[in-house]
Amino acid sequence: MPRVSMKVNGKPMAAEAEGRTLLSAYLREGLGLTGTHVGCDTSQCGACVVLVDGAAVKACTAFAADLDGAEVTTIEGMANADGSLGRIQQAFQDYHGLQCGFCTPGMVMSTAALLAENPKPTEDEVRHYLEGNICRCTGYQNIVRAVMAASGQDTTALAAE
């Protein structure tokens, strides 16, 4: 089986991968990084979103071999160096942006991609950007709040639906 190498969360890593090995399986089974969740496995829910060369990608809908040499950031790379929660993660905790937590890795990674592109998004822009990330618990309100807080913006003005 060919070996596929990637720089994952800043560290060079390698594991064997068949042609059909998805990026999600490569990360979870090949590298043991099980923070990337596989929700629907049909490209719809966004739980498996990771950053590939800085762009949000559904890890269940890309082959590992196609991304040989890529730089990947997963939820494991979002904490601070001392192990404390990163800025986005902390905002999700502070604003109760999760309930069961299954979709949260994808939500956090999509938020990271959004804030890299657009550091101060409006509420509409947040909702629009996260439309590929499905959450079945929260009703999204506190997720939007958490993203606004992570971008350093006041959340009191958000509609209290």
Partner: protein, 262 residues
């Protein structure tokens, strides 16, 4: 998913050679092909990735023509075509969701010719030229019905040349679960006429609405379309909408696109 041999050539010539293998299939962004392989609707023996071919990437603006490499992602078109051809960039920005746009490509979308995909409306609505490794195909001759195109076996789209219109816009009625167009209409106004291409509505895939084109050619305004309706005979009917509903949407989305383009 059945296993396969994965190859990633760096030139079009090498890709064409790799595709000559038995049961070989090209892979672009994979946002449709990978889910269909998981569902075992597709089971290639060899998968030839087109994502490592530099000559199929990027956007070139020359006079009133925009040439987009077939392996260019929707996200890239949405940002890099915005100045030269905002109607196309606006359409690309509405495909799927951000993660899909970061992988999905123009060439993959056109070659698949999903009856509800967005890009076929832009290609047909501009009279684009589909450039392959072997020839150039006019958009009017390219789309041959649902999931069917003029491409031969092993023929690869390498780029698409879009004539840049004076005004254009895409009106999309979103099917919110799939994020495909329940019905989408691309309207483009040129010095010598108007083109109107409809996706998501017909059983035969993307088509031109010639009555609307004629009405808009003499008066490019939403009012020029009043009283015009699109026949529902060949429209898709499913749980998301009846044929009559889609026919109605065609007229509504055409008017919205004209207003957005004005």
């Amino acid at each position: 998913m059945h296993n396969f041999e994965f190859v990633k050539p760096s030139t079009v010539a090498d890709a064409v050679q790799a595709l000559a293998a038995e049961e070989a299939q090209p892979l672009s962004g994979g946002q449709t092909l990978i889910p269909s392989m998981k569902a075992r609707l597709n089971a290639p023996e060899v998968l030839v990735s087109l994502m490592g071919i530099a000559e199929m990437q990027g956007i070139r603006h020359e006079g009133d023509m925009l040439e987009v490499g077939a392996a260019t992602t929707h996200a890239r078109v949405a940002t890099e075509a915005a100045a030269a051809f905002p109607g196309l960039a606006g359409l690309a920005a509405q495909i799927g969701d951000p993660a899909v746009r970061n992988r999905g490509t123009l060439g993959g979308s056109l070659a698949n010719n999903d009856p509800s995909a967005c890009y076929p409306a832009a290609a047909l609505g501009t009279g684009a030229v589909i450039v392959t490794n072997a020839r150039e195909i006019a958009a009017d001759d390219f789309f041959l019905g649902m999931f069917t195109t003029a491409l031969d076996e092993d023929e690869i789209i390498t780029s698409v040349r879009f004539p840049i219109p004076q005004k254009s816009a895409y009106g999309k009625f979103l099917q919110p679960a799939s994020r495909f167009a329940l019905t989408g209409v691309f309207v483009a106004k040129y010095a010598d006429g108007v083109r109107v291409a409809v996706t998501g509505a017909s059983e035969n895939g993307v088509f031109r609405w010639s009555e609307a084109e004629a009405a808009l050619a003499s008066d490019f305004s939403a009012e020029a379309l009043s009283g015009l309706s699109c026949p529902a005979d060949d429209m898709i009917a499913d749980l998301h909408g009846s044929a009559a509903y889609r026919a109605h949407l065609v007229a509504v989305m055409t008017r919205r696109a004209v207003v957005a383009a004005s």
